[in-house]
Amino acid sequence: MSEPLLEFRNVVKRFGGVTALDDFSMTLAPREILGLIGPNGSGKTTSFNVLTGIYGPSAGQVMFEGRDITGADPRAVYEAGIVRTFQRSRLCLSLSIYDNIMIGDTARLTRGLWSNLISRRGLEKQLDMTRRTARDLVATFSAELADRMDAPVGSLPMIERRRIEICRALISGPRLLLLDEPSAGMTHDETHQLMDDILAVRARGEGLSIIIVEHEMGVIERITDRCIVLSYGRKIAEGTYAEVAADSEVQNAYLGAD
């Protein structure tokens, strides 16, 4: 078996008395789509937050492409090729769709004062290119949205904002995409459409891996290669969707939570 892309080694995350992640270990293979499921408060979002450097883990190790990224700051994690969406959408509502998506492409952009303020030939070229990329990306999700790239994001309905957040994550050509409940607030059909679009973008690139947190089990069943079930921060099951769905402990955890 090839080396894993991502590995959690006995990761613990405590918030005061709450243990949000409890000795959590897992691996993710290149190109794999992993479903992360579990009842409310089971630590799914926390695992993303620890991975993306928003919180340092209380104990344990996180490895990415064989490198130790435990406690790396969010910027370093982004530069390593890991991007995410947020459970509660975090866009810049007063900025245009273009601006929001271009924020996702920081790694490629010139940062110098001189090239940004004085000699702007290169900057304008970059702008043109990035805007075109952003527009093409949005067009994959919705042709109609791609015609309104100058609209402020705050004027758009939730479903469009979700799409924009995903485009912001994808524009840099990442290695690993973390989706935190992308379907929240969407209808069944919209959710499946969104997943198809994400898979279409993925098919164009070389080997994007995905971890998806989702309550809509139809989505999990359809697109994941493998699932991990969390309960109170601990991994209680792992396997294909069919396997974990049949697991009695999983059924208990879900029934207990609902």
Binding site: I54, C92, D99, L123
Partner: protein, 377 residues
Amino acid sequence: MAGALVVLGAGHYGWALLMAEETWQVVGLLALAGMATIAAYKTGFVRRVERDWAEAEPQLNRLAFAVLIGLILVLAGSHFALLMISTVLLYFIASLGLNIQFGFTGLVNFAGAAFFGAGAYTAAVLGAQALIPPLLILIAGGIVAMAISLPLLVPIVRTTGHYAAVVTIAFGVLFRTFLEVNEILGGPQGLMVESMKLPGWDFYNAPNLFGFETSFYLNYALMAAGLAALVFALFRRLERSWIGLHMDAVRLDETAAACFGISVRKTKILAFLLGNLILGVSGALYGMMISFIAPASFTFSDSLLLVSIVLLGGLGSPWGGVVAATIVVLLPEKLQLLQEYRFLLFSILVILVLLFRPEGLLPRHLRNFFPNRRTGA
């Protein structure tokens, strides 16, 4: 063309406001402005102006600059009018510095007057030595303002909101106290500042304009106009660059910004230092112009005045800054009976604007990366 009409109208209006002597004239002009604004909204004129601006921004900017120069030349004989114009322009420039911090990046700075004053005191000290050319003194003023703000970087970068605000307030008070007890800097009495000098020309002299007698303030008004245009252009370029985009991202959501590779720390440091540099440069020219400075000119109240320009005009909106600086500088001078109550008046004005028009008088528009191009694909 609606946009050009507004620019020309604003020029005339400025002239009328500067010429008005009686209180009733000033009040009448203010009422006129209010009614014109309402009418412009009701008739959809505002939308036409906005469209013009989106389509021909560079041309309109140039027209505005020409109108400003025209206004200055028309008033070339009046000490008072030119002093007012220069002061408005220098406060406007200072507000652009503050806008980079507060409007773009979300960094509060309640010590604006201290950095402005640092520039002015630098001009006083360096001007007395006569070792450096005065044009470089302007830059030195900016650098000194930037340098004294370095200790503030720690709280600015580490904390957000109220705590950082309190630290800047404390800094401003400390700065003033330092000036008052420092004998070398003239103590509470303050210092004389040498005039601006270009090679072969001392700004102390009144230029001769085709045989007409002018005010020496003409020098300063023209220089302030040039500096304002320069800083305005830089401000626009900053807004329309990756750095400007990143400043917005940091202001709106630090965590998300960091997750997309933006260095929150570097962005804040850059915004804070750049803003203070601009405050210092404008303060240096201000000091040279008024030729005498004292700690009492750079108090916490003056810092609030600068912040209120930014809030009144609209966060991140340079044209809003022009309007607000005019209101804040000119009104108390024109309405003498307001002089005493000016801080009260501005507090009320700011509260009213924040309540009823929180985006400011001339709200900032969406970023237009390519003002030189027609919109479209």
